[in-house]
Symmetry: C2
Subunit: 258 residues, 2 copies
């Protein structure tokens, strides 16, 4: 089954980071050994997993520019089986610096090679920034599969075509194994007609690629990162936590079926 | 008073585009001659203002790479006094193409020179993508002032420091007149403690820079773009429209006071 997943969507604020943090936690909770790679200069995934500034002295930036192996940048979290390669704002500089480097799209896949070969992790989740620049391209080249968090809003739907065309282009040019393994609907408010309309459009167009589990809008989910905790640790009984546990289960069942 | 405003925030999904569309419409409704420059390859501001694919044959991409003057790319909207320089996904290519061009940070300010000199507009609002790359840098160099739409969420707050440091750096290096003219709180849900907490943190830290008017979360605001309409035309009486009219009034009063 796929081992490395990119969580990407150039539309901003659709739940990429929240899904990376909480899906990774839910997968680790059932015994999967998980690595989260924070590829966003905002460093939100690192913050949401409780990584301190001190622990970010070496991070994804150093790994991409070749100053550090992945293993040296990776830190443990308070969640058993869950590690993270953290990000800081200096990662924003990597987009410009990578431009002139050899094999600039392959920096991340090279960095992950040893970890994948050594079977250190069952799953790697890469949290991407809201763009289709060189950082996200590195994630899509390194990934076996792409997961697309999607907010049930009009602008989010508008961007989906551009994302799927980009994936198609990268599959042909740089990564023949890349495919869209799943679309997860986030911040879903079932009282909202627009959201229900977007859901039916997306399911109509993408069919079974769309996870049956939808993630509800739930204020506990947005409170958790201010405590440096995934929502599963912050409030295990809330609707958001339950949904991410169900999503993890659905993802693992799909992987088994191949 | 400032004439060119950048609407920027590298955090995704905070309401940059929604504010550009609806603030511009509210300003045009009271007689200001307004130009919206869509600097986001997603082209959401163009879509939300009803610009067809046909009308985007020439857009911001052609203007930035020097293939077209701004006037030839600008199209009228159905709103009197409101024009837009639209965007398409080819604008994403400009980030890479601008890298090797002379004065790459000054492409937009050069393009706006004639329009500003000819006094064609009272106000120019530039909608930025969710990053601090070369497109947003072009907006910050062209702008007299920066407006920061801010969602009352923890991750949005985390990014504010990085944005203000970037503005400081650009002011020293490329654009001495640049300052943060306003921060507008968007998608505000007053029943949500986290949102009230973020509001008090931001007002405590930035004082009067933060607009008194907050924009409430209002489903009519997110429905409007699917009809190609600003919310002021889609549902003039809803809470979102009222808030954007108040925000425009507050902005114009500030400009008068200088
Ligand atoms: N299910 C949910 N319920 C409530 N709030 C949520 C939910 N999922 C995400 N959020 C909040 O919505 C905002 C956007 O989510 P998030 O930052 O994860 O999106 P993103 O796609 O990673 O954004 P960016 O494009 O900036 O990287 C955050 O403030 C987050 O806390
Ligand atoms: N006041 C509001 N009430 C309800 N929904 C809103 C409001 N403002 C914005 N939205 C919705 O929230 C989503 C994010 O807003 P918008 O796209 O304007 O943010 P953005 O900062 O421009 O995003 P990006 O970073 O992708 O450019 C959109 O789907 C929009 O329709
Ligand atoms: Mg994110
Ligand atoms: Mg936008």
């Amino acid at each position: 089954p796929p081992r490395v997943y990119a969580l990407a969507n150039q539309k901003g604020g659709v739940g990429k980071t929240t899904t990376a943090i909480n899906l990774a936690t839910a997968l680790a909770a059932v015994g999967q050994r998980v690595l989260v790679v924070d590829l966003d200069p905002q460093g939100n995934a690192s913050t949401g997993l409780g990584v301190t500034a001190e622990q970010r002295k070496i991070g994804t930036y150093e790994v991409l520019v070749g100053e550090s192996p992945l293993a040296a940048a990776t830190v443990a979290t308070r969640i058993p089986h869950l590690s993270v390669c953290p990000a800081t704002v200096n990662l924003a500089g990597a987009e410009l610096e990578l431009i002139d480097l050899e094999r600039r799209e392959f920096r991340l896949v090279e960095a992950l090679k040893d970890a994948v070969a050594a079977n250190s992790y069952d799953l790697v989740l890469i949290d991407c920034p809201p763009s289709l620049g060189l950082l996200t391209v590195n994630a899509l080249v390194a990934a076996d599969a792409l997961m697309v968090p999607l907010q049930c809003e009009f602008f989010a739907l508008e961007g989906l075509g551009h994302l799927t065309r980009t994936v198609e282009r990268l599959r042909r040019a740089l990564n023949p194994k890349l495919f869209i393994a799943g679309i997860m609907l986030t911040m879903m408010d079932r009282r909202n007609n627009l959201a229900l309309q977007v859901e039916s459009d997306v399911r109509g167009h993408f069919g079974d690629v769309v996870f049956g589990t939808t993630i509800p809008r739930n204020v506990r989910v947005s409170e958790a990162p201010s405590h440096g905790l995934p929502v599963l640790l912050y409030d295990n009984a809330c609707a958001g936590s339950q949904a991410y546990m169900l999503l993890a289960g659905e993802m693992l069942r799909r992987r088994k079926l191949g």
